[in-house]
Symmetry: C2
Subunit: 241 residues, 2 copies
């Protein structure tokens, strides 16, 4: 399992991802699920992946190779086309691998979050489904999640507003959301990658990796638990029969 | 979908359930998922159900009919046998209905939470699976959930401790857990039934139904959102590159 999310705000985009991969509960590894493709000053792409690691790696390899040839993400005229570009690579891998996976009853499972900015446009955030079609984050629905999405959703529903939430608050919500998920599903695990993209930076400037024993992460975890308990204690008593 | 939970604490048990049932998104109804069977002063049972309404109704009907004949829950010598009794009724309905459901690719989906107390024992809380086998709540794992369980789990993980949590706090956590779930999954919906069983009461004394527009529920919802936002604002700033 994986858990990755992107949060679009008025000020920019926050990306966060876990790093645990597993092929069965007895084959657990660590693999970065956050990847960047960047032409400083011109275009910046951040990709988060969930699903079968073999499939997501293949999609990323095709995207990276195409970029290095000066095609694909290197030249797409707008972000919608960038999302379509990743979708096409998913469909290419679908044609190559799906039928062989399905022979052994293995699902064709691959999802991406793609966010960033191309000069001339505002920052954008997309989810790209296993079928290759894109879904865009909007001010009404400013965050997108892939993988084990349910445990970490309530904090986002309560904490995130496109207009009002600062990038620092969004980053904190993302870490709390990931921490809640890791507490409930052990197939989601550290290190956590966090990346903050501020509007019009056109570069990767704020990227942090939190290991399992990172002091900041441990402080967030214990402080958040304290604050939730305090919030419960401070609620007005229920008036029951 | 449904969402029901039971929370076992040192002081007693809290039960909560939603009331939405649906057979497809275009066939939505309201049905109570909390049922009680009670011999005052002697034995008290609270049943919460999720799964196919037709199946859970059949199981409840068999349990109720047996009780009224002075058998089953009316006479089982201990709570483990009470859980086994519900399990046997699930297996009876399995024999009657499963093969016909599966012909039309409909899953045999039925789960129960059973809690309460039989005189001579401490209060107990069980989950009974669709296969009929019981799982008991323990001080280490003091709450049990059925149905749409993921959205509402983080607040329970943080808020519930068997020894330390009061029944009032547990009831509040249960309502917040249900509210978080209703916010994310529209197939979970009001009214919410809440029942508090205090140790050695051997009766149904604290039972409340919250309609969708219940003032207490609306206060909890808005106050909880305020408190979460305040907690986020009060966290120390992230120290990022």
């Amino acid at each position: 399992m994986s858990y990755c999310l992107g949060i679009l705000t008025r000020q920019g985009i926050v990306f966060a991802s876990d790093s645990r991969t597993n092929a069965g509960i007895d084959q657990i590894n660590t693999s970065r699920k956050m990847h960047t493709i960047n032409i400083p000053g011109e275009r910046t792409f951040v990709l988060l992946s969930s699903g079968s690691l073999s499939l997501t790696q293949s999609v990323l390899t095709l995207a990276q190779q195409e970029f290095e040839r000066g095609e694909g993400l290197a030249v797409v005229p707008n972000f919608y086309q960038a999302a379509r570009c990743i979708g096409e690579h998913i469909r290419t891998i679908d044609k190559m691998d799906r039928q062989y996976l399905e022979k052994d009853h293995i699902a064709f499972s691959v999802n991406f979050i793609l966010g960033g900015q191309i000069k001339g446009e505002s920052p954008q955030l997309y989810l790209i489904y296993a079928q290759g079609n894109p879904l865009q984050a909007t001010p009404d629905c400013p965050y997108l999640q892939i993988g084990e999405i349910k445990y970490g959703k309530p904090i986002l529903d309560r904490g995130i507003r496109y207009e009002a939430t600062s990038l620092e608050e969004a980053a904190l919500c993302a870490l709390i959301s990931l921490d809640s998920t890791m507490k409930s599903n052990k197939s989601v695990g550290p290190p956590i990658d966090l990346l903050i993209y501020k509007n019009d930076e056109f570069d990767i400037l704020h990227r942090t990796r939190f290991e399992a024993n990172d002091p900041q992460l441990m402080t967030i975890r214990s402080l958040w638990e304290q604050k939730l308990k305090q919030a419960i204690r401070e609620m007005p008593p229920l008036n029951l029969v």
